[in-house]
Symmetry: C2
Subunit: 219 residues, 2 copies
Amino acid sequence: MRIRFHRKLDDLKERLLVMAGMAEQAIQRSVEAYRVRDLSLCDLVVRSEISINSFEREIDQMALDLLAMEQPMAIDLRFILAVIKINADLERVGDQAVSISDRVRDLQAFPVVDLPVDIPRMASLASAMVRKALQGFIEADAEMATSVLTMDDQVDKLNDAAFFALSNLIKEQPRFTPQALHALMIARNLERVGDHATNIAEDVIFWVRGADVRHHLST
Amino acid sequence: MRIRFHRKLDDLKERLLVMAGMAEQAIQRSVEAYRVRDLSLCDLVVRSEISINSFEREIDQMALDLLAMEQPMAIDLRFILAVIKINADLERVGDQAVSISDRVRDLQAFPVVDLPVDIPRMASLASAMVRKALQGFIEADAEMATSVLTMDDQVDKLNDAAFFALSNLIKEQPRFTPQALHALMIARNLERVGDHATNIAEDVIFWVRGADVRHHLST
């Protein structure tokens, strides 16, 4: 019984990792779509959101079944709760990718201009945060998860810098307003991805340490 | 034993309602701070975030204890899961209020201008969504929760209109760029509050109906 239970916990973990991979890929695709202005990548992102959503439901159901079937011990309970919360955050990472894709579509109406914001760099940092938080989850490594919280400050700083640089550009060259505003919104989407990675990292730390660090390390 | 368990479920629900009230008040205060440019209200919002965060932890712990102590039936399990998810969304509503307060502080550096965006109206709509979703939760009323999903379309439309009107203003009167950008970000924060209310409504429907409507009604 116990062995079967632990096998199911492993299945749940495996499923969540696939979900994480899909969410990360969606972000990469949406930012690649922005970089090369490729609308077929936007289509892929929108289509993958459907899979991500059905994965979310499936994982929640697996977690619910595990909670219903057995009387999990405290550490397993915390693990299942962490999965439920991480799952919700990953689904929202997928939503951010869709928002970015929508912006890329809107941008098609305007000429390409060189903007003072490094979207690909912000994206690779935000993706690295998601990956690292999940790695902390796989290896039950609270230290690794903690390092995500400091990475979040970098993403926030890049986002603040983007806001400053783009609003200056708009003031000086108002004809680029639409492009600059869309880029600003994409930067904001990536900052949100960083926030979700931070949430995931905090859930990992909570599961591993059994103590709640939320709202401590991150402030 | 069963009676004690149900009393604890009621306590959990009660606690979540207090949390919801705090989150809603934080939004109201931050938007009032925007309306009358009152920084003392911003301080209140930041201070209340600390209480909201500690409430979130407390509610999660209560839910965890309930899961650990008893073997809840399927409907109660779904209820506890809904509480955990709603709890996370309410905490993020509080985060949005803090973001709005930060914007209000930044706005102090610039003269007040009349902007083509009705922030108080967006805020009252988003707050009404949160309230209605929670009312659906109290009364186990899936119909009421469903009505939140259509309200979200209105908030999204207001946000799109704000984006359009403010970007036009910036193009025509670039000297108002900072004020317009901050207002744009506040509109976006309120749109996020609407998203959280939608998440809450979907969790309520899931709990009441036992079926997962996420990603169906909302699209």
